[in-house]
Point group: C2
Chain length 120, copies 2
DNA sequence: TAATCGCTTCGTTAGTAGGCGAAGTGGCGG
DNA sequence: CCGCCACTTCGCCTACTAACGAAGCGATTA
């Protein structure tokens, strides 16, 4: 029960759902997600931590960057089912499509542009 | 997005999940659910209203009783997918199995026993 | 038609969750 | 090894949510 509730609670916030959907087509590091969601670094970090606790997201450390990706849980597991469900349910969502476009732009930004969010 | 969030928020509370799972094998009226969850009538009413708003449950009015049942949403819809997912994820859950046993007992209770929750 | 029944709505209270900025942590580069 | 960079943790504030009892509402029963 607790693991299921961790998943549903993680999915019960629009910013976390947007972040999770942004990871559909490959991994992103935190600064990408900060730009995508337009929230403070500490806020996004907390959101990703909640997604990770629920098992929906995994991380990969590369130097001082942390790359987030959707978890590749075994088929039939609650996490796998939840990821399948949310992606199918939001395939045509307007906000997600806006984010997809923005994701492209953000990924093309230079390291300097991405780092601005930490300095201001 | 909003409809998906309504579903995940509805599923992000253990009492609502328990109520929803109790409706797997047929409809129940509010007094049954009150006994099952051991909460105040107003609280259970609110929970069921949230599940209904999310489209996860439907109601049938019969006299002064309101029977709740799981929604039979079309296959492929977010609601259908969510119901499938939660039932698969919690098939072997300990709390749900306890509730299943309790459900049997509650359904056998007389109308007087069921009505006590409104009087005390 | 008056009383009762099953449920809902209202108002309140306590606990939780999301947001931010400031300070802390650990890995890299100069 | 000193400072910087990407990220996390902490402390605080605001807003929301779950819980309850009391009062209200529509439908049935007496």
């Amino acid at each position: 029960m607790q693991d299921v509730l961790a998943i549903t609670k993680a999915l019960a916030d629009s910013n976390r759902v947007r972040a999770l959907m942004a990871l559909r087509e490959g991994e992103l590091c935190l600064c990408h997600l900060i730009h995508l969601l337009e929230l403070a670094p500490s806020t996004v970090s907390k959101h990703m931590s909640i997604l990770q606790q629920a098992g929906l997201v995994e991380t990969r450390k590369e130097g001082r960057w942390i790359h987030y990706r959707q978890a590749d849980a075994p088929a039939g597991s609650p996490v796998h089912g939840a990821l399948q469900w949310v992606q199918e349910a939001l395939a045509d969502d307007a906000q997600i499509q806006k984010d997809d476009a923005r994701r492209e732009a953000v990924c093309c930004q230079s390291r300097e542009e991405l780092a601005e969010c930490y300095r201001n």
